[in-house]
């Protein structure tokens, strides 16, 4: 009688162990299945050739380079002439590719692109600080003035 009970206990142990193995394997299969469906290769952008070309083209327009590099450090560099063109280029051309773009000098704020770091509650959530910008193009116009294009 004792022997039979021991045999049953032994068998039960193996049956339960088998069930556990099958359950673990089944869960693993279901975890892997969604990963196998669609795999798109997405490369992290750290530069944008087209945006850089636009930025260089922008500086070559009329006397924009001389104008912006000659400004006072407290000046945003974007006036009635340089501001609307920058707005048209960067906001129109890149709004499909990027959620947020900012263009200006070292100053935190300019009237065409707003605040360098925060722009509205939605953007604040997704872009709380500068480190979240994917692409930052900087051009040193002179010792004091730096022109910055940020895309995210």
């Amino acid at each position: 009688m004792h022997n039979k009970k021991a045999q049953i206990a032994d068998s039960m142990t193996w049956i339960i162990a088998t069930l556990i193995i099958i359950v673990i394997l089944t869960i693993s299969i279901f975890v892997v299945l969604p990963f196998g469906k669609e795999k798109k290769l997405k490369l992290l952008r750290t530069s944008d050739i087209l945006a850089t070309k636009s930025l260089i083209g922008y500086l070559q327009t009329d006397n924009f380079y001389e104008k912006i590099s000659g400004i006072d450090k407290k000046d945003s560099g974007l006036d009635e002439e340089t501001g609307p063109l920058a707005e048209k280029i960067f906001k129109e051309f890149y709004r499909v590719t990027y959620e947020f773009m900012w263009f200006g000098t070292d100053l935190i704020y300019n009237e065409y692109f707003g605040n360098k770091f925060i722009k509205g509650p939605e953007i604040r959530k997704s872009h709380p600080s500068q480190k979240h910008f994917l692409i930052i193009e900087e051009i040193n116009l002179n010792k004091n003035i730096k022109l910055i294009l940020k895309l995210s």
């Binding site: 193995i21 299969i29 892997v32 795999k39 798109k40 636009s54 260089i56 083209g57 051309f93 590719t97």
Partner: protein, 169 residues
């Protein structure tokens, strides 16, 4: 003693069965994960657009062999030669060098009037674009701002479409 031997045999068979099941599941999971190809067409389209933009403009201006100050020297016939590109693909899946399509529009920046238009490749791809469907061509359009030698302003629109659905998706 005999009973013990029989038990060991059954146990050995059991372990082999479990071993095969586990091995089978691992192989199945590996095949599921790595069996589907990566869709690299988005990256490929970006590279194609970047290459075309490098061919057209340098230092914020249109290159002189693209626009000499009087007329555009780039057209649909000489595009591949001028930009040192080829749309040839490997001979597989019945492909006949018809997996790419590009359009380049040179627009006056202020009036949006088209000054020059270049197209090359299989134009049928443009009508079937769907970037969210795996079996349709992947398409993208991007623009950049540039000047010519006379400081005229242009918006250059580059449209690229890549099929390769059998291999990439």
């Amino acid at each position: 003693m005999k009973n013990k031997k029989a038990q060991d045999k059954i146990l050995s068979v059991y372990w082999f069965v479990i071993l095969f099941i586990v091995a089978g599941v691992v192989v199945y999971m590996g095949a599921t994960f790595y069996g589907e190809p990566f869709d690299v067409r988005e990256a490929e389209t970006n590279i194609l657009i970047n290459q075309i933009s490098n061919c057209l403009s340098e230092g914020g201006k249109l290159k002189l062999d693209i626009y000499d100050g009087k007329e555009f020297l780039l057209n649909s016939v000489n595009f591949l030669e001028k930009c040192k590109m080829t749309f040839e693909v490997e001979e597989t899946k019945g492909w006949k060098n018809d997996q790419h399509y590009i359009e380049i529009s040179f627009l006056d920046f202020n009036t949006s009037i088209r000054k020059n238009f270049v197209k090359q490749g299989n134009f049928k791809l443009k009508n079937n674009c769907d970037n969210n469907q795996r079996n349709f061509p992947y398409c993208k359009e991007r623009s950049f701002y540039t000047l010519d030698e006379n400081k005229n302003q242009y918006e250059v629109k580059i449209y690229a479409s890549i099929r390769k659905t059998e291999k990439n998706a």
